[in-house]
């Protein structure tokens, strides 16, 4: 018995978003893909539940980030993480420097700031959906996001004008 079409459509749509979010959260593209695949298995397992949710994408992201945290709890984290990021850095693609800087700046954020930033600005969840996914008040999501953006600013990745813009967006 193969997956129903609505499962197919949902998984195809969420796949690149999950891989991208997990790669930013874990700093590891290969691991992100493994975790995203496992996330889809969970989506399939609970499809009856998921298909009725208002924000199934937010649910999928919550599961994905939980799987990522479990993964790191149960493995030798720092060594593998260092090795993989260093290996990735050795690919001589154009513009590698900025990409590395972004990944490292995001990787260095405290977990909650990183989560809020990726959910809000990569997965494009609303403040309400992100707060639901993180199980915290909406004000906390805004504060964490602002702190994360300030850290990106201090890494020289965004200008003050952009922070102003983002702060205004948070305020509205």
């Amino acid at each position: 018995m193969s997956a129903p079409e609505d499962v197919n459509a949902f998984c195809r749509r969420e796949w690149p978003r999950l891989v991208g979010s997990l790669s930013l959260f874990t700093g590891d593209g290969d691991l992100a893909q493994e975790l995203a695949q496992e996330t889809l298995a969970r989506v399939c397992r609970d499809w009856h539940k998921v298909s009725n949710l208002d924000a199934p994408g937010a649910w999928a992201h919550r599961v994905a980030f939980n799987l990522a945290r479990s993964h790191f709890r149960h493995r030798a984290v720092a060594r593998r993480h260092s090795a993989r990021l260093a290996a990735a850095a050795r690919n001589d693609e154009p513009d590698t420097t900025t990409v590395i800087a972004v990944r490292n700046a995001v990787a260095l954020l405290p977990t909650r700031q990183r989560t809020a930033l990726v959910l809000r600005y990569f997965a494009d969840l609303s403040v309400a959906d992100a707060a639901e996914a993180m199980r915290c008040p909406e004000g906390t999501v805004k504060t964490l996001t602002r702190q994360a953006i300030l850290a990106l600013r201090s890494a020289g990745l965004i200008s003050e004008a952009e922070i102003e813009e983002e702060s205004m967006a948070d305020v509205e």
Partner: protein, 362 residues
């Protein structure tokens, strides 16, 4: 390349290298469901639809969760420079006789780094400089060498240098490259349309052993003591930046006759005209840092950034003075704030401060 936050995250995220294996996920999902039903003893495979999101905590309840990457992980291993004479490529001979100098060849064989400052050390070494002579295989054509260095995943700062093609003999670029953190730094090199890369190891900075705590024993203090507030001139520079955020250079000048140490973050808060603190102290901007040794009459710096309270949507106070505690000091210094400086007066911090560094931010 876009600069906005969304664009940055898109650039930093990886795209899938393969399509989702939906069929695989579906059959695995069915197995997971069967396993769970077997465990709970349910006779039927039907799952009642529920309207609430499953109770899975995305973040731990423990607010002291360590970040995924510890800020002070051990430096990654790096090939040590070689002193052998037979592993220098023949084309590098044009640079003259460099026998006996520690060197490293790039993996693609197009660059040899002769390390005159061996061993390379983090920070700005005073006794001996981090001199590296880059010899390139392809001609310089009068073009400069663009160098970038990064230390994934420990330090997200990018060190850049640009070396003109004015030296001879040979296709050489002499440089002095300082990095803030010890570890295996990854260098990318670009000159005259060519690119190469290599890793160079930087050892710990020349900081002495940690100072001993003041006790009544006869222990002798090792290395410089922390800089004391009273033996420094602490000042704050003019405002920099756009309307949303304003940056200030905090300068710490060592007025004593002994070298002292500034390690980590200063404590910074704002006082109103009556001397009362406005809101809460500024936050520490999380970033890797190394202790700064400050020689007599030398100056160290810390970046202070305040947010515009209107943009941050918080009630504002007008700062009259800035109270600054040097790292590890209990005695503060008071500096006049620029006239009319408005800062957040509520529970969200009025700004952030970076750790003390040895080079000016502005």
């Amino acid at each position: 390349m876009s600069n906005d936050v969304r664009g940055l995250l898109r650039d930093g995220a990886t795209r899938p290298t393969a399509d989702a294996d939906v069929a695989g996920a579906w059959s695995r999902g069915r197995r997971l469901r069967a396993r769970r039903l077997a465990v709970t003893g349910l006779a039927t495979a039907a799952i009642v639809a529920v309207g609430t999101i499953a109770a899975v905590n995305l973040i731990p309840n423990d607010h002291n969760t360590k970040p995924l990457v510890p800020a002070t992980s051990a430096p990654a291993a790096c090939a040590a420079p070689s002193k052998a004479t037979d592993d220098v490529p023949d084309w590098a001979a044009s640079a003259g006789s460099l026998a006996g100098i520690a060197h490293q060849v790039s993996p693609d064989g197009n660059v040899v780094a002769f390390i005159f400052g061996n061993p390379l050390r983090a920070g700005a070494p005073t006794g001996r400089q981090n001199k590296v002579l880059w010899v390139v295989r392809q001609p310089r054509g009068g073009q400069p060498l663009a160098i970038t260095a990064t230390l994934p995943p420990t330090d997200f700062r990018v060190v850049r240098a640009r070396v003109p093609a004015g030296s001879s003999p040979g296709e050489i670029y002499p440089s002095t490259i300082n990095v803030p953190t010890p570890g295996c730094w990854h260098f990318t090199l670009a000159w005259n349309g060519h690119r190469s890369s290599m890793d160079l190891a930087y050892k710990s900075a020349e900081t002495p052993a940690p100072r001993s705590t003041t006790t009544t024993s006869t222990a002798v203090a090792i290395g410089p003591a922390d800089c004391h507030t009273k033996s420094m001139t602490i000042s704050v520079g003019p405002p920099n930046g756009a309307a949303g955020h304003v940056g200030f250079e905090i300068s710490f000048r060592n007025d004593s006759t002994a070298t002292c140490l500034l390690s980590g973050y200063p404590g910074v808060s704002f006082l109103d005209a009556s001397g009362k603190q406005i809101g809460v102290p500024v936050t520490r901007n999380p970033m890797a840092h190394t202790p700064v040794t400050v020689a007599p009459d030398a100056t160290a710096y810390a970046l202070l950034v305040t947010m515009n309270p209107d943009v941050a949507n918080c009630p504002a106070g007008v700062a009259s003075r800035i109270r600054i505690y040097p790292p590890n000091e209990t005695a503060p210094a008071f500096v006049a704030a620029v006239s009319g400086l408005r800062v957040c007066a509520a529970q969200s911090a009025p700004g952030y401060v970076n750790p003390v560094v040895d080079t000016a931010n502005y």
